[in-house]
Amino acid sequence: MSHWVPELLAPAGSLEKLKVAILYGANAVYLGGQKFGLRSAAENFTLEELEEGVQFAHERNAQVYVVLNSFFHDKDFDTLGEFIAKLEEFKVDAVIVSDPGVIKYITENSNVEVHLSTQASCLNVQSAKLWKKLGVTRVVLGREVSVAEAAKIKKEAGLEVEMFIHGSMCMAYSGNCVISNFTQGRDSNRGGCAHSCRFEYKLEGVDPNSGTEFSKNSFFMSSKDLEGIRVLPEFINGEIDSLKVEGRMKSHLYAGTISKVYSEALSYYKEHGDFLSDELKTWENELTKVSHRAYTNASLVEPAKADSIYDEREHEEIEYAAVGAILEVVNTDKNKYLLVEVRSAFNLQEDLELIPFRGRAVEFKMDSIKNVMDEDIERTRPGSLVKIPYVEGAKQWNLLRRRVEQ
């Protein structure tokens, strides 16, 4: 018997990351075109890449959502029609929009489905009902909403709901932070956020308890990262339609690992109807292996408390780093090797792990490295190709990683 599970929606910061996310198990990806998105520094997709990405996803039954979540200025509408027509032609599954003017434009001028971006901070049933009147079919709820509230919103508003399950978090209600706009002249709602909430601040005032002067340094506005693997049963019980992973700017290893972990957990549920798997610890452990701040489940169960503040200087905890991706698996009578694109240098005799699309990572010792001319080498260099011994089960686009010495 197959049990219902939500869609797993992964970030695709580039065409390659799109492929990685889908091959590692994501059912859907979201990505930005060259314009209209918030991640201005992400390697946004050209139209050609977008078309290929959609084809790649659809061939694997995965959906593609295109993000148009920047707050539009009037002049931006001049080129919107052309872009939407292309998206329609490529058969993207939906666009993610935060601006009511854009929602109106798209619903009136195309058949593309519109999902409301979290930037619009939809937080309650009444709000969802209002957005539904404008023609949106799904709302990406604000990160302040609990799963129980989301379930109610879905039921009473009659819309699909999407919630964040993993990744970095804005501390503010999304779309309600303009720190960068006024302090750095960069519009945070058009891709210019300077992450001022991650700064250390000296707070001064009067202690409300003692009435005495108070001064303290703190990263008081910085949020821990969201991690919701333990909340999966609630998401499923609440019939939350889609679980979203933040991180279009993050690495291939992140896109692959997060997609893999959550999709394996969801597949387990699909088969067994529960999460009583021996793998639960492994899954949790895997989530600590990608770069992240300390984790919190924020407001998924109840409103986020003081322990959701990341009161530390901004740094990412990185246990593992990607060292490369497998570009070719050669397994013939004459030749047997993996052709690896090196992303981070590794050495002969080093312990590495291959991350298969399904199942546990395979550990192996690097006991031979050759360059493409078949000369033995001892150390690889990023931006080169090397041949390493064949590892059982390896597939093209599998990632290799290494433990980082802390």
Partner: protein, 396 residues
């Protein structure tokens, strides 16, 4: 005479006289449960509203908090006990509150707070006109709209427009408690009724601006700009663009009597007079984006304009360069393979372009092949000046 109306907040019944003397015709009233910084009970708010009405001031109820579903349900319980007839209109920001009012209190006028969110285009503002129909009496627009845009919107909209003219600029709003935990205090002591919000000032080495006011109360934590907005020096220009309402926010401990001087600018405007009010105002101010907003110019420069594939002749990317020996290309295009005899164009990440004819193609196992397809890695003889991440195109 400048025709723009001045409106302000009223928190104490005793302040009505100042409003009357200043000729203010509308006052915003905030209760602790509905308004971010309001601290009145329902009955206090109603009493002030009635008193306002009796002297010809329009009392407007402020409901500007954002609400998750549970908070929304708690909020409407108190809301339902309010005598809405005491107020002439309700100011709303959460679209949920808007829908609730449209559906349950269709006779009440709405003033829509569009100061944040995606309301930087005319269509987005007009939608609220469509949704709220005749109930929408005002659009409260963002400080990030410059004067020219404002002028156009005022012309195009069927509803009146309001802008903040003096007061704190809200930069950040979260429902999370960010300051109280530092005092190890039980939240409830300080935040239950919004009477004793915690206020601190925040400065960061990483920002040139020092002393951001931060308030935590029962609705969450709020950070304001270090400088308040002060547009009174341009009150003549504001009048010229036809702005109907300018909001003067003297909450947060300011002396409301300043209002009289401000109001006198309407009948007898001079820049000097406005500047003297600015000098008297206890906080450093600026004019925000009133004359120009270039906040999306800078970030365009942040964009990563790497060389991206841009046409249907794209084949793949260079993944290895071995000087004097070979170049490795991963074939990424599904449409285009590569065969011996093809001409290719290479676009390097630093903008150089080279063309060459393919005379030899080899696999990673050194086998000569006549053609290669999507997904394969293929090696061609070395070409000088080409680096990894170079995009490869068929040269047709």
């Amino acid at each position: 005479m400048i025709n723009t109306n001045l409106i302000t907040y009223i928190e104490r019944i005793e302040d009505i006289d100042i409003l009357v003397e200043s000729g203010v015709k509308e006052a915003i009233i905030g209760t602790s449960t509905l308004s971010r910084f309001g601290n009145l009970s329902n009955s206090q708010a109603q009493d002030i509203a009635k008193a306002c009405k009796s002297v010809g001031i329009r009392p407007v109820l402020e409901w500007d908090i954002l609400m998750t579903e549970n908070v929304f349900n708690m909020t409407i319980k108190t809301f339902e006990h309010l005598d809405l007839n005491a107020f002439v209109a309700i100011r709303l920001q959460d679209p949920g509150a808007v829908n609730y009012i449209i559906e349950n209190y269709p006779e009440h006028k709405i003033q829509m707070i569009l100061e944040s969110g995606g309301h930087h285009n005319l269509e987005a503002v007009k939608i609220w006109q469509t949704l709220a129909g005749g109930n929408l009496e005002r659009a409260i627009l963002s400080l990030e709209l410059s004067k020219n845009i404002l002028e156009e919107y005022i012309r195009e909209l069927d509803v009146e427009v309001e802008l903040l003219g003096l007061g704190r600029i809200l930069l950040f709003y979260t429902p999370r408690s960010l300051v109280a935990p530092m005092f190890g205090t039980d939240d409830k002591d300080h935040k239950q009724v919004n009477k004793a919000p915690i206020e601190v000032s925040a400065s960061s080495e990483e920002s040139p601006h020092k002393g951001f006011p931060v308030i935590e109360n029962m609705h969450g934590t709020f950070m304001f700009n270090t400088k308040d907005i002060f547009l009174l020096e341009y009150l003549d220009e504001i009048g010229d663009v036809g702005l109907q309402h300018l909001r003067i926010d003297l909450r947060f401990g300011h002396d409301l009597s300043l209002l009289k001087k401000i109001a006198s600018l309407k009948t007898n405007f001079s820049k000097e007079k406005a500047t003297s009010i600015k000098d008297e105002y206890p906080v450093v101010t600026n004019r925000g984006f009133f004359h120009v907003n270039k906040s999306d110019v800078l970030f365009k420069k942040l964009k990563n304009y790497r060389i991206q594939r841009s046409d249907m002749q794209f084949i793949g990317d260079v993944v290895e360069v071995n000087k004097k020996k070979h170049i490795g290309i991963v074939l990424r295009s599904r449409q285009n393979g590569l065969k011996v005899g093809d001409s290719i164009r290479l676009h390097t990440p630093d903008g150089k372009e080279k063309t060459t004819k393919i005379n030899s193609l080899k696999t990673s196992a050194h086998e000569e092949v006549s053609h290669a397809e999507h997904g394969q890695v293929i090696f061609i003889p070395h070409i000088s000046g080409i680096s990894v991440k170079t995009s490869v195109y068929l040269d047709m």
